[in-house]
Amino acid sequence: MMDQHRQAFQEEARELLTELESALLELDSRPDDVDLIQRTFRALHTIKGSGSMFGYDEMSRFTHQVETAFDHVREGRLAVTADLVNITLAAGDQIRSMIEGHSADNTETKEILDKLARLVRPASAMAERAEQKAPSAEVIRKWRIGFKPSPALLLHGTNPILLFRELRDLGNLDIKVNADALPNIRQMDPESCYLEWNLTLETSQSADNIRGVFIFCEDDCELRIEADAEAQSVRNVEAPTVKKDDLIREPWTLGSWERRRDPYSVGGEKVSIRVSTEKVDSLINYVGELVVVQARLSQIASSSLASELRVVAEEVERLTAGLRDHAMSMRMFPLKNTFERFRRLVHDLTRDLGKEVEFSSEGGETELDKTVIDQLNDPFLHLIRNSMDHGIEAPEQRLAAGKPRAGQIKLSASYSGANVVISLRDDGRGLDRDAIRTRAIEKGMISSETQLSESEIFNLILMPGFSTSEQVTDISGRGVGMDVVRRNVEGLRGLLEITSTPGEGTTVTLRLPLTLAIIDGLLVRVGAAHFVVPLANVLECVELKAEDVRAAHGKCLANVRGDLVPYVRLRDYFRLPGARPDIEQIMIVETADGRCGLAVDEVLGDHQTVIKNLGRVYRHVQVISGATILGDGAVALILDPQRLVQQSIRAATKLLHHTSHELVN
């Protein structure tokens, strides 16, 4: 039970730490922003408060010290400086590791606290002085309350004594009873109330809260509540400590019966519940199976004569599609948090590299599958490090080149059909084509005669073992990195594209599918074998007649409205048995190497499918990204057109080299 609560706390704390970090980083550029200071303080306060409830005492004590510093900031006694931001960021890292259950690095925490103490000391001295002069105070007001119950009050079950007890809980209460209306004992009705009371209450509570005490008998009495104007006393506020009431909040107050806003909630955020990723994953798994079964049902229904069955199958299809979309959207997360993390990276690297860089981001609300987001972290880490290290010049160099002192790094994300496009732009020196070429020749990756287009040259830096940096720094230039980035992105079925203008900067663009678990595909047949090609890759389908094939003189080139497009015949590629039909179908797909066709016997139509991994044995088979089960229970392989075309080109080039060598010899 407790474990479950602790886990919930850990999740909450992780979010709060991210919030803390982003507030701090923004504070760095806008140190006077009151809102940011409040956000920082609230994050620290909540982490501290909840932490102590769940047994993280050490963490809570540590956080308290950090919070105190921000309390001084909040009160205007301490200014936000780069130093304070850096120390607090480091403190956040410590808190994170304490929450994850690692024991704190005592020297580190002590160092942080010492540094904080040095910053805070003048401020607390100021605070003490300030307190002597004009104590920061909470206003205690004196209220005069006149309470005259109707005679029937007691009959309705209200006990005035209980009301006075409740008032006493709000502050100092003085009770005076007025028994003037009490009749002679002979005429008195013992069940009626003849008394009236004049009360004086000293409290910091509002009139509404006082009125709340009388909520049940408002109709049964005359009630006057007046603030005593001349008598206002002030009381020093005690040092901020966490009160039990702060931690256990009731969503309803007795007094107002109105929903009270959670003081720690961030305005405008939608209500959400936490669900473990395991649950979501297993839901998606079930939905996946359901999609397969539904496809099967639709297939049976379409070949059945029973029209009722067809109606039901269509309804099931509609519902399944809706269910699938909603299930998938549960895995979608905005990129905001990831972007914030990179802001921190840029901040830290700026210090380490002695460069000045301004980080900006847009499109943080763009959502992507959680698994995709998780796997984007490393690629972007490399890309940002590269930009900071190689791209952005030192401030003097930039000034000499007529650019502003501080470099710009901008991350942006947007939707593009079923894809998300994320780009990283810097305004650094740009890629040096000649240097890349020379380096590639040195490394034996290309020969000195090879003619390469601009994009081919840029693609060289994505090859394993390539690095142009003259010096290998701690941050980048070890020759790993870009090829890892490429592999990661391709592993996510994404495309990587680099554009660069010398002196103006470099842009790296990633095009990623929204989700990995389900794809909309085109089901095709070659002989007895079925394949699925992701629909997102397919531009169009054209017919290939036997006479067209003859006209091309054995070359795999198709004439698509006047353009010659090369194609790969899947029957040949996979060495499938059987004769090809007179009319074949070509799917034209978009790849990094341009348009290319895939020739098949027949295009069967749309097929929405859940990707099943092929397992470890097949992990080296690159042209196949997975498998799916068809409606009739047969298995269809899911093709990766990108890789398939690449491999075909490679094989063809090898053949070409081979023949040209033979000719020379």
């Binding site: 309705h156 006990n159 049940f216 009731e250």
Partner: protein, 120 residues
């Protein structure tokens, strides 16, 4: 001596929740399924009555009115369970002699807070 509370509701889940909450807080609970059942069970002294308003056989308002006619129960606190949209019902309940109300839905803590308010 624990204080005795009579709870009246036709919904078994609400009865269960209320009973669970009240016994957990140390009260002794008597349950009734509607107004008639409640009247028949009022043979022992109780310290507080918590009643729903919409019930078959005898509704909450009539129950409150009848309870207030019995001398023994004239001054005891009666809380009614209302929904926010039932403002007129609330007024009618007050007129019949209810002490206070609890707005549904409520949390166990809210229930206990209101009970402590009228029961001390």
């Amino acid at each position: 001596m624990p204080k005795v509370i009579l709870t009246v509701d036709d919904s078994s889940s609400i009865r269960q929740l209320v009973r669970f909450t009240l016994t957990g807080a140390g009260y002794e609970v008597i349950q009734a399924v509607d107004g008639q059942d409640a009247l028949s069970k009022l043979t022992v002294p109780v310290n507080l009555i918590v009643t729903d308003l919409n019930m078959p056989n005898l509704d909450g308002i009539e129950l409150i009115r009848q309870i207030r006619t019995r001398p023994v129960y004239k001054g005891i606190p009666i809380l009614m369970l209302t929904t926010e949209s039932q403002d007129s019902k609330k007024q009618a309940g007050k007129a019949a002699g209810a002490t206070g109300w609890i707005v549904k839905p409520f949390s166990p803590d809210q229930l206990l807070a209101v009970i402590r308010k009228v029961l001390g």
